[in-house]
Symmetry: C2
Subunit: 198 residues, 2 copies
Amino acid sequence: MKEEVLIPPYEGRSVSVKEGEELCIIDVEGKQVGDFVCFNHRDTGEYVSPVHMRASLSSIRLKEGDPLYSNRRRPLMQLVRDTVGRHDFFFPACDYYRYQVDYGEENHPNCHDNLMKALEKYRIRPGLLPDPINWFMNNLLDENWDYEIREPLSRPGDYVRLKALEDVVVAVSTCSQDMAPVNGFKVTPLKLQISGGS
Amino acid sequence: MKEEVLIPPYEGRSVSVKEGEELCIIDVEGKQVGDFVCFNHRDTGEYVSPVHMRASLSSIRLKEGDPLYSNRRRPLMQLVRDTVGRHDFFFPACDYYRYQVDYGEENHPNCHDNLMKALEKYRIRPGLLPDPINWFMNNLLDENWDYEIREPLSRPGDYVRLKALEDVVVAVSTCSQDMAPVNGFKVTPLKLQISGGS
């Protein structure tokens, strides 16, 4: 293994992953969502874009083998292994407005700010944060296309493994929502592991 | 009626709608998707944001009565009347990359550029175009959450009516995709009508 990074609860971290390397995102204690953004390191105007992924994949479900497409409709990473099988890529990062509008809280930690702060390490300062992929988030859609946010299906040690198809910078936040089922009402750590790839 | 604007095929137009006024988007010949963006006229850093709408509505389906929420999770407009009942708000605007990557076409008209150009009338020049609502777009989801883009259900004269809850600027593009079922393989006009509201 080349590098290991623990992401504490209510925080974000960023890592550089070179073309051909693999990144594991591990749910250490289980039931913890990881908000994820990914930039092309050579041109940070290109980034993984869920809205374009939904078009290129003709799906709102992520599965093993799926490329993670950019705003220029090119694959930057690929989901090569997934021990859970339920993730989200249509929901926003929680942000200041989420806690202010819905809970009246002015200073709650939030994924938007965690990710923006984590990206500073690589001097990536997007005017707008791209929409996240929310690994392990469990939105259950009904027949009317309404959905309910349930507790994640991930158990301790479950993970997704992503292969870099370009040199990328990835930021991940331990989703900081502790007042809803999204993380089982408790925010716990995630672990990032980078390896040389297979 | 206060104002009427015809949007020719392959083009975009923008209009100002004052708080309390209503905007009708009319599918003149039927089967024509309209890509739609909407900005708070007093602070164009706030705009209708489909990713935040999906969170606030707990749904990926739009229905009469739904507010159109902003990136600050506040309602800017409301869908007050809908004669079709099938629209999209998880798909991107077609853009240069869509036609270049998927069809090898360098110069195809596209909604991204149509909307950016239409917004110039009000000197709105976002660094990134917000995701659109795609009125009349008919994405049919299956039980695996994969979907297929079908021809719109809208017939000639079908419409949606939106009430402005703030002073807004709206831009709409006649979706310029003529090589897929999304507009029935043919791009036709849309009409905008602004009235004083009820």
